[in-house]
Symmetry: C2
Subunit: 75 residues, 2 copies
């Protein structure tokens, strides 16, 4: 469950990760492998449950082959 | 000292924070006050020593009155 104190940015980020991952045709497991993160971690990120750090944002953006700022772009 | 394993994104973020803070004419202390973070924390962020979380990125962007993605834009 998403912490009530989590930022609106976290929610946008979560939605963007899922959007770009699906656009790339990657499963959560494949993205995790590319980013050298754990599959279950990617799942919690996509549900907005993680207060993800900038270094992990970088790993995911790199794995998705997009600039990190794209992941913080609000719709 | 910056951890050797820190991401290049962290360094860009650090430089951007300082740039936008100075452009706004804010001291680290004033930015900290606006963002409800500690002054010394802002200092460590600007030196790239913090693996800052997305919720704190949001607080700082809000305090600087800019979209969060601006802080992740590489020069």
């Amino acid at each position: 469950m998403v912490n009530k104190k989590s930022s609106p940015l976290r929610k946008e980020f979560a939605e963007n990760i899922r959007k770009f991952r699906m656009r790339s045709g990657l499963t959560q497991e494949q993205l995790a492998g590319e980013a050298k993160l754990h599959r279950t971690y990617i799942g919690t990120v996509e549900r907005g449950e993680q207060n993800i750090s900038i270094d992990n944002i970088y790993k995911i953006a790199k794995a998705l082959k997009i600039p990190a700022k794209e992941l913080l772009t609000t719709s």
